[in-house]
Symmetry: D2
Subunit: 353 residues, 4 copies
Amino acid sequence: MSSHPRVRVAIVGATGYTGAELLRLLLSHPHVEITALCARDKLTPRASTMLPALTGLVELPIEPFDADVVARKADVAFCALPHGASIECVRSLRARGVTVLDLSADFRLRDPSVYARWYGAAHTAEDLLAEAVYGLPELHRDALRGARLVAVPGCYPTASTLPLLPLLASGLARPEDLIVHALSGVSGAGRSANASTHFSECAEGVRSYKIAGTHRHTPEIEQTLAHVAGAPVTITFSPTLTPMTRGILSTVYARPSHEQVDVAALVEAARRYYASSPSVAVLDAGMYPDTLWVRGSNRAHIAYFYDARAKRIVAQGAIDNLVKGASGQAIQCMNLACGFDEAAGLRAPAMFP
Amino acid sequence: MSSHPRVRVAIVGATGYTGAELLRLLLSHPHVEITALCARDKLTPRASTMLPALTGLVELPIEPFDADVVARKADVAFCALPHGASIECVRSLRARGVTVLDLSADFRLRDPSVYARWYGAAHTAEDLLAEAVYGLPELHRDALRGARLVAVPGCYPTASTLPLLPLLASGLARPEDLIVHALSGVSGAGRSANASTHFSECAEGVRSYKIAGTHRHTPEIEQTLAHVAGAPVTITFSPTLTPMTRGILSTVYARPSHEQVDVAALVEAARRYYASSPSVAVLDAGMYPDTLWVRGSNRAHIAYFYDARAKRIVAQGAIDNLVKGASGQAIQCMNLACGFDEAAGLRAPAMFP
Amino acid sequence: MSSHPRVRVAIVGATGYTGAELLRLLLSHPHVEITALCARDKLTPRASTMLPALTGLVELPIEPFDADVVARKADVAFCALPHGASIECVRSLRARGVTVLDLSADFRLRDPSVYARWYGAAHTAEDLLAEAVYGLPELHRDALRGARLVAVPGCYPTASTLPLLPLLASGLARPEDLIVHALSGVSGAGRSANASTHFSECAEGVRSYKIAGTHRHTPEIEQTLAHVAGAPVTITFSPTLTPMTRGILSTVYARPSHEQVDVAALVEAARRYYASSPSVAVLDAGMYPDTLWVRGSNRAHIAYFYDARAKRIVAQGAIDNLVKGASGQAIQCMNLACGFDEAAGLRAPAMFP
Amino acid sequence: MSSHPRVRVAIVGATGYTGAELLRLLLSHPHVEITALCARDKLTPRASTMLPALTGLVELPIEPFDADVVARKADVAFCALPHGASIECVRSLRARGVTVLDLSADFRLRDPSVYARWYGAAHTAEDLLAEAVYGLPELHRDALRGARLVAVPGCYPTASTLPLLPLLASGLARPEDLIVHALSGVSGAGRSANASTHFSECAEGVRSYKIAGTHRHTPEIEQTLAHVAGAPVTITFSPTLTPMTRGILSTVYARPSHEQVDVAALVEAARRYYASSPSVAVLDAGMYPDTLWVRGSNRAHIAYFYDARAKRIVAQGAIDNLVKGASGQAIQCMNLACGFDEAAGLRAPAMFP
């Protein structure tokens, strides 16, 4: 099926949700051999002890991170560590020539002063920032080909910018006055157990958090939108926790640039924009994206509505936060970086129901 | 505890979710005796057959609706029927002198032409419209005292207008450019089983429906806001189905009327506005409403945020759609109509977790 | 409504789930005034900060436990602490004359050697064990009247013994060869967050734990059954975690004592046995208990089936683990201890849906 | 990757959950080309209209069933129709030489009189029964090679017999006195919406149904166990609905044939029995199967416990009811029937979380 030799891949941070999801997806990837698993805790001689879903499928150990070992065993490393913890790991791997897909926030913001303001600490690897490519293939496909350090986007930014990009690129929507109301499943909070991820306090409740300009994905979304709009963008962003495991449904409110806008024009612009993007489906007018329809897949479903009474565009994007919002997108970037087909290993449809 | 004689109460539409919830709440009401239960189907000699939660607690039959029988057995009737089906039931009961709390949409819109436009049929009881009082006690408390026909508000309108009323009444927010993004639990769709309420298609998915000016609660919300603003209001409204049984979390985006607005001012205005309202709690600055914190109670939790970067007010209201959004609010209106304490039978805190 | 003076009540361990549930239920109790709240952490000048459901309803502080203070402020104390932590608290309160309802396991097992075997530590208050009454009102109603120390049963034992008691007392079932397969909601694991209560790892999975004679509720169930059977009882017990917040559904398999048994006889025996028990409803033959039908209420629904092919009785009990399985049952015991109506404050039906 | 030509496959009953799952799995199968989709309703020129997860992935129409058309387009047909409806469809396809994987119950029971007793109608295709092979590859692997009509087992029978087969085959457990307590996700009830699948009535409740010898999977389980035990088997079977979409956790209680049994012996016997079965993993002693660990995969996790106090074996099996319990198992059978590797297209690990 393929003439590519398999690349050897390491996963650093293998025991969190995005690490586990990388394992799930890479096991079916035609051009990949998983050769090393590292983590900061939950070390074990057999990965399946920590991740019983892999019983009989993966028998690698989960070991402490050692850059020399990883560089010897792997050509490509996925770093699925918390922000802050990622910088030194990435530096050590890049110094040894390993291609790195970094899933943390550490290399996403181009401007270190913005990083410092939102993450509360000076960026300690500005040299690497220059090398890093922002891993939204639908926007930076060419730059990702052959990239050696990829900053994989956050889940909210992916779901929120995908429906907006065609509108800003085409000029159909105005870049000011944008509101992003985004619903996330609980796995977005990571595998750490705390009050806000306790089943009993999630299962029958919804609540927002870090709204009104306080969530760290705000500047990341703005950076991408500004890149396309060609001007600074300020959004109002409302992340909201909903009782499901996976999924983000992001609703974007925007003003049309003129009053003749209609849904057909919005859909048409988006279909043109994403014509060569295997991971984005623009739904027919009248259909509503549902996170269930993309769960487990590397696909974004986007849709457009026009409120003629209020003269406002409503656009929605649905993704699986762990796939197109993290691990799947990282693999999509790896495919481009390594010269594989962009969709290699990522063609499986969503699991419904 | 009370010198009130008990009023005799009938529930018409006892087998749906709001009917069942009326039963639950009225069973603990100090001034009420439930004397008749009617429904269109699921008739049974013993209510507990249809509603096993009542086993050993309620042994009334569920009978077909007969206005004469209801008028003989009850002083007050709650009509929990679908819109359209309610009008004739209400007319027949009012003709016999029964006080009616109508939970349908049939008497909510003051202007019959608006009703006709959104509900697709001419209103056939314009005479009764004049008598009907819109049952939002926080806004129409005085008119509800002694009322004989109350149009109990919809769940979305209750959750969405409560946080906005103080802002519009005080002039802190501007009445144009309003967006309402509201999340609802599945019970809001009623007890009828269909694809969109199937567990397997709800449990791990979120999706919007009837957005961009198409949901029938849109004119109801606008009517209430216009009443307070003193001018027509047009909103963008996005109802969204989330995988929980009960609850609405409504997020409202509004423009401040001047730039010196801050959260403290918003909270202060709301606390003043709701000072004598037992069913509304204005949360401290920094706290987020959670539908879990109001589940099962007749309380609304509202909270305010200010996005200084984008110069936008974000206000939220959380209610239980079946209680403050339907049956509890109907009882609150009954209390006012009958001269009871507004909170009688409605003081129970939420069930957490 | 009542000529009883209100008893002054303290809750020790107010911030866990059973503590919060005591607050919810006691706020509606006609003969109770809550006067003190204590906890080991989450201390706060205003309880509603930790339990926002109480905003505007309870403004007591949550303070560290001090036996002198509690004894001065309260006549009755509910101790909702983990086992082990409870013994000293109970001792100090009993020494000061406070009536104690203890929700921990510390005083449930009559035989200290059994306690030592299952809880891994010698019992340090054998003197108090003699005073303690096991708080299953359906079995020990008379002993509970006027009791000063009540060991409130565990959730699994309550749900599992209630359907069996009438069968063993009547001799319809044999006391050997008993299997208890019980499903629990996640709140049964308490408010502490850990991997096994993480929403993402509960919401779409079921798994057993501590089966085959290893769960600590095993000897408690056996003790109660042996008391009724008049002989030692050994059960096989399989607790299983299911993705719901509240509820226990316990299925019991038993051998009939003779082959002429049928469902009618089982139901009849149970109805006779529970004729004067306000918290137990024996369902009609053919109906299945559902945890949803008892959620939030202090009621147990029990039902009987007979597998004539395999000659085996199948009995089921459904309760809300936080109410009839903990806090509600504790209040039921308090009612008996204080001479109130057994059902005072506990009459509310379940919240459906 | 493969020298096999692709077989052309039709799915009859493509719009139900097992039909949708066949589509999901077959799209990734290396030796399959999907050529026809049929259904009884929800007909559409584009499958993705009914199954939006397939948007951009499958553009076949969903058409009414026509045996001639299916026989012309496909070599192999999966019939995912309700029992009763399947018989004629299977007959017409077999008459035209199409290999059939039937997911209904119509060809599972070897004895037509047992079928008549449990399904309430005489079997109308006894001739085909002789040809049908029961599709549990772990038991009938050889008979499945080259089979032309396969009766794919039910979900409960798969989860319940897999842990028992090694015990009965090895003689470690006795074939009498067996109890099967099985928990199922809601998708097991199919895609039809009714009261028992309504989110609001499932999400926070568990309840059994058709217990004590009344569920139609009872004779199917007994038939398989009797085959291995070499003697008639009668079980007590308790199916129970739990609030999750996918998964079955079946707990089996059995008596050991002698008292020296221990967990190590049980695990060892099972590992030997399933040594060449790619879809069964026998967990290490002490691990509990979790439906979440097999969700979306064609794998069964089985585990063994021994209750030495009560001298009883407790065995558990966890599967995804739509995969190893239906569509995945059907594909596994197809692989054997067509001479492919048994695990072709079925190697993906579970989706966690």
